[in-house]
Each structure stands twice: as structure tokens, then as C-alpha cells.
């Protein structure tokens, strides 16, 4: 029998709101106030999102970040720093109860299962992708999607990003991949480690086509029935409350 999910369709928000929404849904789901949820979202302005345990000074070139006018934020989940580009990627989250039969006690298995929606979505677009433990999805050995999970409030939050397009100067300008100067050679090497939907398809692809593929991919991977919905008023209250924390220096610069 298909599992019913509330579906929050593609919306654009700033970094602090986006992370507050993910946490609000997670809390409400854990409390049993909302159903399992699938959410697609984008960012404006672009922003760097750090993993919970990363330190700002080691990961981010603040001068370049300010020059580009990007936000800086920190997730509640672990993992690596991501440039959430307003023109280059779609972000998604899946929120389930912690005791959902879909979830495994083995973290890598849980990642694989919730990454399968992206692998199936890429398949819809004609791209053969595979899961690379712990938390990546790769195509021909190159990373196209990074994911992070956290168990909190009795629920599981799985969120991740799918690279649709890519600006090497931006990404490697704001993220400290290496202490080396950002020479063309360095960009070339780092660029070789990632790929994008547009590059693989060899054509410009609109975000709506990617969104449609994601919807199909998740339906298949989770055997899900998607019912379009919105945040409840309780969740919206939580978003207001959490957003303040996410936007505060104490949170962003905690490491």
C-alpha cells in the first residue's frame, strides 16, 4: 500500500527560513501533529550552509561570501558545507517519524533509502546515478547530490541538494576546498569532482522539469502518494521562532 505524504511544492526562501522550515516540520512530525512530508525548495539569495560540526573559518571565505552577497547559515545536521545557489540547485527534504518502517538502524542504509528518490528522479531524466556511501549520489564517479540526516524530536529529517547548474568561480570562491590559491588549475580539479544535471543532459533544463522528475522519483522510491499541502499554523509559528536562532551570530559562528 502506498505511504501517504504531504507534499510541499517548490518554494523560494532565504537560508534562515529554509532551515527553520525543515526543523519546524521535523518537530511537528515528531509530535504527531503533521503527516510524513516531502518538501522541495530553493534559495534566494544564494547561501553557504555549513554542517553542524564545521567551523566557519576552516570552510568559508568570508570576503568572497560578502562580495557575492550570499548568506551564511548552519544546519542542525552534520555533513559538509554546501553552496545553495539560487540559480544552480534544488533542495529537498523528507521528514518521517523516527520509528517509520522505512528507516533502518544502520545510518548508511537509511541514507541509501532516502537517496533513492533522487536516483530515481535522475533516471526519469535519463541519467544513471548511484548511491555512494555515506551520503552522496554520484554519476560516472562525480558528485551530483549531497545529503544529510538527523534524528530529532522523535522524527528523522533527511535533506539534500541536487546540482542542476554550477558556477565554479562562485562555489570554489566561497568554499575553502584547499588552501591553495584559486588558480585555474585548482578550479579544473575541483570541477572534475562534481557534475550537474545540465552538463549531463547537454542542454539547458528548467527547474520545473527537474521538479517534475523529483516528484516522480520520490513517488517511486518511497512508494508514496503525494498530497499537496501547506505548513500548518503551528509549523508557521515554529518557523518564526526557529528562524531567529538560525539568523543569529551565536548559531552561525558557534564553531
Amino acid at each position: 500500500m502506498p505511504q501517504r505524504f504531504r507534499f510541499l511544492d517548490l518554494k523560494v526562501n532565504d537560508a534562515y527560513t529554509n532551515m527553520a522550515v525543515d526543523e519546524a516540520i521535523t518537530k511537528a512530525r515528531g509530535e504527531g501533529k503533521v503527516p510524513d512530508t516531502l518538501r522541495f525548495y530553493m534559495w534566494k539569495p544564494s547561501g553557504v550552509t555549513l554542517g553542524y560540526f564545521q567551523s566557519v573559518e576552516d570552510e568559508v571565505n568570508l570576503e568572497a561570501l560578502n562580495r557575492f552577497g550570499f548568506d551564511l547559515n548552519r544546519r542542525i545536521s552534520g555533513g559538509g558545507a554546501v553552496l545553495n545557489s539560487e540559480t544552480g540547485e534544488i533542495t529537498y527534504s523528507v521528514i518521517l517519524r523516527e520509528d517509520d518502517p522505512l528507516m533502518s538502524t544502520d545510518p548508511v542504509e537509511s541514507y541509501h533509502l532516502l537517496c533513492q528518490g533522487i536516483i530515481d528522479a535522475l533516471d526519469v531524466l535519463g541519467i544513471k546515478a548511484e548511491f555512494k556511501p555515506i551520503n552522496d549520489i554520484i554519476v560516472n564517479g562525480k558528485k551530483i547530490s549531497g545529503n544529510a540526516q538527523i534524528r530529532r524530536y522523535g522524527a528523522v529529517l533527511h535533506h539534500g541538494t541536487l546540482l542542476v547548474d554550477f558556477d565554479a568561480k562562485q562555489m570554489f570562491g566561497v568554499l575553502k576546498i584547499s588552501k591553495e590559491k584559486l588558480s585555474d588549475k585548482m578550479i579544473q580539479q575541483a570541477e572534475d569532482r562534481v557534475t550537474t544535471v545540465r552538463r549531463l543532459l547537454g542542454r539547458p533544463i528548467g527547474f520545473h522539469e527537474v521538479r517534475d522528475a523529483l516528484e516522480k522519483g520520490y513517488k517511486k522510491a518511497l512508494n508514496a502518494e503525494l498530497a499537496k499541502g501547506d505548513l500548518t499554523s503551528y509549523e508557521q509559528e515554529l518557523v518564526k521562532q526557529f528562524r531567529e536562532r538560525y539568523a543569529g551570530r551565536a548559531w552561525i559562528y558557534r564553531r
Binding site: F53, S55, G78, P107
Partner: protein
């Protein structure tokens, strides 16, 4: 400030930054792109090790290992031994 960085083979990147005074750790920060739950365990470990004698290295290692065991910490992308390793390497840095 002493610093050591270690990429776990097949896993994630770990960093330790610390300061030492009178043969003891006076401040410690661990960071990286690993996953850990509950996430508060990392801060608790940093606090636990602050004030610790840096010699012998095995003392820090055993404390780190028993901390993660007793807390039943879930770590992905690194092992308790890796955390002990970066701390002891930072001491020597």
C-alpha cells in the same frame, strides 16, 4: 593554537584545534563534516578533555573511546579512534 587535520580513509574530515598550558589542554575545538548523534556529545567531549594532561597520549585515547562507548554515540564517517588520533596529533603539532 595547535591544529591537526585528518581525512578518514573512506570517511570524513576531522579537525582538532587546541591550546596547551602547563602540560594540560586549556581549550579544544573539534570540527569536520562527519555525522554525530546526539550532536551535544561533541561539546561534552570537548568540555571533558579541557584540563586534561596531554601526556601520556594513551590517557586521552582511552578517555575518548570510553566517552563514546558510554554515551552510545552514533558516529558516521569517523570512528572514536579517529577522534582520539586527531587530538593526540594536534598535541604534537
Amino acid at each position: 593554537m595547535k591544529k591537526f587535520e585528518y581525512k578518514v580513509p573512506g570517511g570524513k574530515l576531522l579537525r582538532a584545534k587546541l591550546e596547551i598550558g602547563n602540560g594540560r589542554i586549556t581549550s579544544l575545538q573539534l570540527s569536520g563534516d562527519f555525522f554525530m548523534e546526539p550532536e551535544t556529545d561533541l561539546e561534552e567531549l570537548e568540555t571533558r578533555l579541557t584540563g586534561f594532561k596531554v601526556e601520556p597520549a594513551v590517557y586521552i585515547e582511552q578517555t575518548v573511546l570510553s566517552f563514546f562507548t558510554s554515551h552510545k554515540t552514533m558516529i558516521a564517517g569517523a570512528s572514536p579512534k579517529d577522534f582520539a588520533y586527531v587530538i593526540n596529533q594536534a598535541v604534537k603539532a
